[in-house]
């Protein structure tokens, strides 16, 4: 019997003999992965929604006087120095007047007595549409207001701040559920393996006495942990997929679902979550056997 067959035989024998403890661990891993992946899915979709946002993210910088050509270049440099932007537009007083008049449509005659340059010139900054930009927008605004010749900076403050708070909350939840996932998987698996090791203390002693190699004793436990991680996380992801489809079907008519396109994780992300969970569980098992067997 070669080494690999021997190790796999041992692994499945262990799993079979301690199936009740294994089942509990599997359920815990499945739930941890489900909780983490659920919040992570919301997070990625919100991030995606953030990218779909349009001009609401525009920052308007009002200036006290029309900037000359070289001054415009100076502003451009300072803005780009802070962060990447999609585009920067300079709006002169006259252009602003034209836009305002166009907005007033039939009522544009109210502007007749007003001078053509009564509106301040401005710079419109369109940041790159990403969540990072969104979270930095307040700082960006504070920076812009400190530039020389700037009267005021305006952006969809209320909306952006609410969105920002929501995203911040989501980040915390994802972080916490991620930590929970790491703790539960490694701890639960390490504990299950420890219980298995304790229940098989005599067998392990005997194996050492008859000359079993370190790998022969240890690998089955390592594989057992990895297998628990794999099956548990695969089940968790499958449960999330079913839940996602059910929610999508159930709330298909809801306005929020029509506003944004909600998608499930791409395949590589699913694989990454399963692989990471398997590795965490294998790690838990590894540390447990190392401590217990002192190999």
């Amino acid at each position: 019997m070669n080494f690999i067959i021997a190790v796999f035989t041992q692994t499945f024998r262990n799993l079979f003999q301690t199936w009740s403890a294994q089942l509990l661990t599997l359920i815990t891993i499945t739930l941890s992965v489900l909780i983490f992946a659920f919040f992570y899915l919301i997070y990625t979709n919100v991030q995606h929604a953030g990218q779909q946002l349009d001009d609401d993210l525009r920052l308007v910088i009002y200036l006290d006087e029309e900037p000359a050509e070289e001054m415009q270049e100076e502003y451009r440099k300072k803005i780009v120095k802070f962060d990447k932007v999609e585009r920067i537009e300079f709006v002169s007083s006259k252009e602003a007047y034209g836009r305002f008049a166009a907005q007033l449509e039939e009522d544009r005659d109210v502007l007749e007595d007003m001078p053509r340059d009564f509106l301040p010139p401005s710079i419109e900054v369109y940041p790159v549409r990403s969540l990072d930009t969104l979270t930095k927008i307040k700082r960006f605004s504070d920076y812009l207001v400190s530039l020389p010749g700037v009267l005021k900076v305006q952006y969809g403050r209320e909306w952006v701040e609410r969105f920002y708070t929501f995203v911040k909350l989501l980040r915390i939840i994802v972080f916490l559920s991620g930590s929970l996932l790491i703790l539960t998987t490694t701890f639960m698996v390490a504990n299950t393996i420890r219980l298995t090791l304790l229940s098989r203390k005599d067998e392990l002693e005997l194996l050492r006495l008859v000359g079993a190699s370190t790998h022969y004793i240890r690998l089955p436990f390592f594989l057992e942990g990895a297998l628990q991680g794999f099956i548990g996380s695969a089940a968790g992801m499958a449960a999330l997929f079913l839940l996602f489809n059910w929610i999508k079907l159930r709330f298909a008519v809801s306005s929020i679902f029509q506003l944004f396109e909600f998608t499930f994780f791409p395949f590589p992300v699913v694989i990454a979550i399963i692989v990471i969970s398997s590795l965490l569980c294998a790690g838990g098992s590894f540390s447990s056997t190392r401590k217990f067997l002192q190999l």
Binding site: M1, A6, Q17, L209, V210, G211, A212
Partner: protein, 259 residues
């Protein structure tokens, strides 16, 4: 035999070995003893004389407090890891307390010793059946070890000790729970393995198994050798015979054959 033997003169060589169990139990004192390859040695003495301790030192279950213990040319205080594991695969130990796994079947208990050497499962099955047949346990193949009588458990422990064709067999009171007839079966089995080249160290106080023997007998009392002869000069003809036998597998007898 299972693994290549070292070129050492003796299979077992102890020089001034002492063992003290904490706090201050002197189990062995200045024991010097050599066992030739292919020899059968009986260790006799009352309970507590140090027989089991000596066997435990030979399998590195315990370490000596003083002195040198060499098995198959390896100094056991210096050996570790893979080397120790390989050496242990070449030592079969029939423990006094059997060390059977109660929830496993008789066959699984015997298989453990062969599985760690990655023996093919068909070979394991075949050897297990033959051993059980010889020891009168043919019908116990699938019986959990916990359902066996002490005498049966003892025989399973002996079967496991020899299953891997070890070069050194250590037997601690191997006939302690057996009747005369079964004792004879066990001694026959040991003799067969010895004829094939295995060295045997048998710790016993069952006089019936060594009364009429030609083999060396060493008596231990309170951890010291009080009666015994030094090892005879190594039998080079024996070693040559072993080499020849290893070179001609068709001469394998019932116990070693995997057919």
């Amino acid at each position: 035999m299972n693994s290549q033997s070292n070129n050492s003169r003796y299979m077992v060589d102890l020089v001034k070995v002492s063992k003290i169990y904490l706090p201050d139990i002197q189990a062995l004192t200045d024991v010097s003893l050599s066992v030739n390859r292919g020899e059968i040695l009986f260790l006799i003495g009352k309970s507590g004389a140090g027989k089991s301790t000596l066997l435990r030192l030979l399998s590195r279950m315990d370490k000596q407090t003083k002195g040198v213990v060499e098995v198959d040319g390896h100094d056991l205080s210096k050996i570790a890891g893979g080397k120790l594991q390989r050496l242990r695969r070449n030592i079969g130990f029939a423990f006094q307390d059997f060390k059977l796994l109660p929830d496993k079947t008789v066959a699984q208990n015997i298989a453990v010793a062969m599985e760690v050497s990655y023996t093919r499962s068909s070979v394991i099955r075949m050897r297990t059946k033959k051993l059980l047949h010889h020891l009168g346990l043919a019908d116990k193949y699938n019986t959990p070890a916990c359902e066996l009588s002490r005498g049966e458990q003892q025989r399973v422990s002996i079967a496991r000790a020899v299953a891997n064709n070890p070069g050194l067999i250590l037997a601690d009171e191997p006939t302690g729970n057996l009747d005369r007839e079964t004792t004879q079966l066990v001694m026959d089995l040991f003799r067969k393995y010895n004829e094939r080249g295995a060295t045997l160290v048998i710790a016993t106080h069952d006089e019936s198994i060594y009364r009429d023997t030609d083999h060396r007998i060493i008596e231990l009392r309170e951890g010291r050798i009080v009666n015994g002869h030094p090892a005879p000069e190594p039998d080079h003809a024996f070693a040559d015979r072993m080499d020849e036998e290893q070179g001609s597998p068709e001469e394998d007898d019932l116990w070693m054959s995997d057919q």
